[in-house]
Assembly symmetry: C2
């Protein structure tokens, strides 16, 4: 450990302000959306595709490709680019625990790893971040690089919430604020005053499925619970550079199937993937899209 | 409404301190457990069985039987007993919304009903309580009538939590305290610092199923998340006279299947059904059972 720490201290920072932005690209369209945003802004960038995860279009644009668990190779490539910063974009499956241990054991204390792997997602991602930073790489978030991809404040589709939906949104928002310190609850489904589901590690899609099942029970007055909304936002203290709440066309479709009449997300901290398509679909399915401004200071 | 209010005001309280305890009996063993506890204490009691829900053994002991939605019949019978108090015990299915409306419309304002039916379970139960009280009946809880059926403070099986389990219990407890004002989250599953599931209207059993699925993912280090516990307690402000958290042998079995190493419940506010069997099963399956004292005053 001492030797490794000394080696890190000797190494100059790998990030250079004049360098390109390095995008470590997992699956989905986000990596290329960032590339396009950077290119429009005239900023150079390099793409490091993760083999088996990056989409074909991303791979065609990639400057290099690595295996997910080839940590040494990824760090060497990234440092070689002396990038202005590194951003992690797109999904990867959580690697198998054994693979994690084998490949990262050389870099970090085994007990730390064990602790990381048994904590929340936030915890694991903070570990990856720390690893990059230990190697002198500055990690940037999508928010910094392409703020136009984030949800704006206020409605961003054709529809807006009515009074009942506003009340559901407020209830969901207060609920998520309460959950935030517990590293759980990036999203919830609320209908009138009734919380139908709180998102755990299963993710938004499965939580919506659960809410749909509950909404079909004869709960209220023989119809779907009224004013059902999906509320989604970052947890307090969530590192938005590596873990960003996101919605997209699929979210809109599933929320509509669940019986939601709208989606409210944290403005500035939630990515709207394929925004034009997301908005068009929400308009067509009759869902409002709402960006929530940051919480006011909590009451004492 | 005015006429009804006047009629109620004219009517003397139906409860008489010298009267028997009336037990409105749904399914499960709880109604008879209360009868046994009252008989041991030398208190007279009468059982009003709900047709289609009360167990055969309960029906054999019943003094009268009503249909779930025969509200008039139930009130007439109960008032006729001039009971010291009424307790609602055992499960009934939430009646269909149309049936609710038709049968209760005569008693309560339709808008109030609609509001009750669209709120949380607490809300609906408070409505039933209010209806009984409007008719002069005092509603008593199991806690008052048979405190020996509730979880005690401290461990009540052979096993106790180790340090890691204590930390999981503390995390779950803090989580549920945060959720409580939102009328959701009577239970949660926590492993190490990771919240695996928060109970919504789906109930504890389904939440445990969800946690089991998550626990089988390669989340941590290729084994079940460590120190997984089920934490269950009443929400603040939950009316324990009509809505009591409960555990029993089935809870222990499902918690064990989920991978839990113990169950922590609110002492004094959680019913332990079939206690001897519950404890024996927990001992056999290696789960601790722990009664949590009430929360300390929240920090300012």
């Amino acid at each position: 450990m001492m030797a490794a720490a000394a080696a890190r201290a000797d190494r100059p920072p790998a990030s250079q302000a004049s360098g390109p932005v390095a995008i470590v690209a997992g699956s989905g369209r986000l990596p290329l959306l960032i590339v396009e945003a950077l290119e429009r802004a005239g900023r150079p960038c390099r793409v490091l595709a993760i083999r088996g995860f990056a989409d074909p279009a991303t791979r065609r644009r990639a400057d290099a490709t690595v295996d997910l668990l080839d940590v040494r190779g990824a760090l060497d490539t990234l440092c070689g680019w002396t990038p202005a910063g590194v951003t992690l974009a797109g999904a990867v499956a959580r690697p198998s625990p054994a693979a994690l241990l084998n490949t990262l054991a050389a870099y970090r204390n085994r007990e730390t790893l064990r602790s990381l792997a048994s904590g929340g997602d936030d915890h694991l991602l903070r570990g990856v971040l720390a690893l990059l930073e230990e190697h002198g790489l500055q990690v940037l978030g999508v928010r910094d690089l392409a703020p136009g991809l984030m949800a704006p404040v206020g409605r961003f589709g054709a529809l807006g919430p009515d009074e009942a939906a506003d009340a559901s949104v407020a209830a969901g928002r207060a609920l998520l604020a309460s959950l935030s310190p517990h590293d759980v609850g990036q999203a919830a489904v609320v209908a009138s005053r009734r919380v139908l589901a709180v998102e755990g590690p299963e993710g938004t899609d499965r939580m919506l499925d659960r809410a749909r099942t509950l909404a079909r029970r004869p709960l209220g007055l023989g119809r779907a619970p009224a004013a059902m909304v999906l509320v989604k936002r970052a947890k307090d203290g969530q590192d938005l550079r590596v873990d960003l709440p996101a919605i997209g066309p699929r979210t809109v479709k599933r929320a509509a199937q669940t019986g939601c009449i709208g989606i409210a997300v944290g403005a500035g901290d939630t990515l709207v993937l394929d925004r034009a398509e997301t908005v068009a679909l929400a308009d067509r399915l009759g869902l409002f899209l709402l960006g929530l401004p940051p919480d006011p200071e909590p009451a004492p």
